[in-house]
């Protein structure tokens, strides 16, 4: 009850998590972003433009597809796939980018910057920047520009400049550092389009709201198809943007189990993992208090996953809160399990899903057989896997000429 009161009073926190742990240089600008967001989020003109772009440009609503073959093969619960992979640009990231870019436009900004891991958020940002006629620069760890070359070139084709980041471990966390630094040095014309449910307030809230379109749709779609709510909703979690969007509308429906799938890398108990909620501890980083993989001194760990999109040492503050309240459950999926799911869903359903999403699918493969045939699972396929084909081939020791 005490926590509830705190939450009611303080919009920037989720229990003890969240906040605005950010250099003074950015504090006024964060306030400007929050003010603009609160001003426009219920504004009819803003919502009209948002929904028009979501429906007529990004291809929403996305399908809720009944995976009949997968359901029969696994022999348990009915499996529905929420097909965010069918969105324009091939992932859920576009939902949030359209929303934030519309806020940026209303704030008079002319330049969008973004961090990206797998490249999906970078591609989405570059796409909307092109559509809106805005300048765009993307920050991406050098390790990720190497393993996601296709997405790098896509961003360049869309007119964006891609900065490979060579500091730190050269992955997503370092890209966020670089994007924050760049934003601090150029707030006049620049809006930082944060792609994950992380960072200082109001970013986790904006990402939650703009991604909640996923569960708003899936709820209506499952009621239409089955006449009832699902028993479980499953999504992958790096920072947690598609998961929070997939969970949002079900959080108050206590009978719907919410399951986030983290990247366990080589295993949750190894040091080559990115399973933040299972292995992490409370800390303060990237503008928020949340759970992080870190050592006893508070130095942030260099994490590992085959998936560039889940290769992040922290998690969004709302997920940390949902885990603490045991409202959502978080499980680790290894590289091996995710790659197996990548091949399984391709052969079974004819869907090449992003390696990130395959962490969620891998858990569904374990979960569905343990549930009876009258149960229902919704699994979010957060993105398509074309970008991953080369690295999966490499993982399997197959040499393909890119």
């Amino acid at each position: 009850m005490k926590e509830m009161q705190k939450e009611a009073k303080d919009v920037s926190h989720y229990g003890e998590f969240g906040g605005q742990y950010i250099p003074e240089t950015l504090m006024n600008e964060l306030k400007n972003v929050a003010n603009a967001y609160n001003k426009y989020k219920d504004d009819p003109d803003f919502l009209k433009e948002l929904h028009d772009l979501l429906n007529n440009y990004a291809n929403r609503p996305s399908l809720l597809y009944y995976a009949d073959k997968m359901t029969k093969d696994l022999g348990g619960a009915k499996i529905y796939l929420k097909r965010e992979d069918l969105n324009h640009t091939g992932a859920h990231k576009i939902n949030n980018v359209i929303g934030q870019a519309l806020i940026a436009k209303r704030m008079g900004k002319t330049r969008l910057i973004a961090e990206t891991g797998a490249g999906q958020h970078g591609v989405a940002t570059a796409t909307i920047a092109a559509l809106f006629g805005m300048k765009c620069e993307i920050f991406m760890g050098k390790v990720d520009t190497d393993r996601q070359k296709l997405n790098v070139y896509r961003m360049q084709l869309l007119g964006a400049k891609v900065h490979p980041i060579t500091s730190g471990s050269m992955v997503l966390k370092d890209a966020v550092n670089a994007a924050l630094q760049n934003w601090a040095s150029r707030i006049d014309d620049t809006f930082y389009v944060l792609g994950s449910a992380v960072g200082p307030y109001p970013f986790p809230e904006m990402v939650h709201d703009f991604q909640s379109v996923i569960s708003k749709e899936s709820k209506a779609q499952i009621l239409e198809a089955e006449g009832r709510l699902p028993d479980a909703v499953v999504a992958c979690v790096g920072g947690g943007s598609n998961a929070i969007g997939s969970f949002a509308e079900y959080i108050d429906d206590k009978d719907v189990e919410l399951i986030g799938c983290e990247a366990a890398g080589k295993g949750v108990d190894t040091d080559q993992t990115a399973a933040t909620i299972e292995r992490g501890s409370v800390g303060i980083f990237h503008g928020m208090k949340s759970l992080f993989l870190q050592n006893d001194d508070g130095q942030i760990d260099q994490v590992y996953s085959i998936s560039a999109g889940l290769d992040y040492p922290g998690v969004g503050p709302e997920h940390a809160r949902l885990a603490e309240l045991k409202r959502a459950k978080y499980v680790g999926i290894t590289d091996d399990e995710a790659v197996n799911a990548f091949e399984y869903i391709a052969k079974t359903e004819g869907i090449i899903a992003a390696i990130e999403s395959c962490h969620a699918l891998a858990y569904v493969m374990k979960l569905a057989p343990t549930m009876s045939k009258d149960k229902i699972i919704i699994c979010t396929v957060s993105g398509r896997g074309d970008k991953d084909v080369a690295s999966i081939a490499k993982y399997r020791g197959v040499d393909i000429d890119e």
């Binding site: 250099p23 003074e24 504090m27 730190g168 924050l180 040095s185 303060i284 006893d296 130095q299």
Partner: protein, 259 residues
Amino acid sequence: MSNLKEVFANKKAFIPFVVADDPDIETTVANVLTLAQNGADIVELGIPFSDPVADGPVIQKADLRAFKADVNTNVVFEIVEKIRQKSSVPIVFLTYLNIPFKYGYDKFCQRCQELDISGLVIPDAPIEEQCELKPYAEKYGVDLIPLIAPTSADRIEKIAQSATGFIYVVSSLGVTGVRDELAIQQLSETIERIKKVTDVPAAIGFGIHSSEQAGKLATIADGIIIGSAVVQIVADGGDVQKNLGEYALSIKDAISVKA
């Protein structure tokens, strides 16, 4: 509250910055002692963080050298213990909030008091987020040094009013396209606004390299903080003690003339 404010009485303070354990414990101890003997009024000691988002490339590299030497929070306290055997120069820590958070705010501030650490500069703890740390800082007499940035605007008065120790005024020097004269005019206005609401000293830092710049800025501020230029001298190697000593004297001389 610490004795930091007194340091600024009747003089312009020179506040150099070094990264703890860059490149090893003994060198850091020697560097701090050399700076203290050659005009440093307060030494700012950096506790390295894995992801120093508010620091530039020179300091990031120094952090990496310190990590190579296996720096951790207890090693930094050990360095201060060694310094304290020979010098009572006022010291403030610069670090990121996760470091004291993980150490435990109570235990961290208590260690600071035991080692006569006067204050903490924490770039990712704006005043809104200091409420958890503040009770412990006050309990052990450690000042939380707030930062005021070129973008602080209407926040200047609010920050200045609650400040103790000194105020770290971030210059826009070194930011692409900002000319020194322009930066100085803006800084001057900022400091005027600070002075209207508090008598806590205001020191300017960020982007200051030369004794000319330091001298000019000393006409409007109570103190000058120099980070990267000092850290670069350590990085360059050679006779570091001699070079640091000469550099410190030249800065101290440049800012003292104006006092």
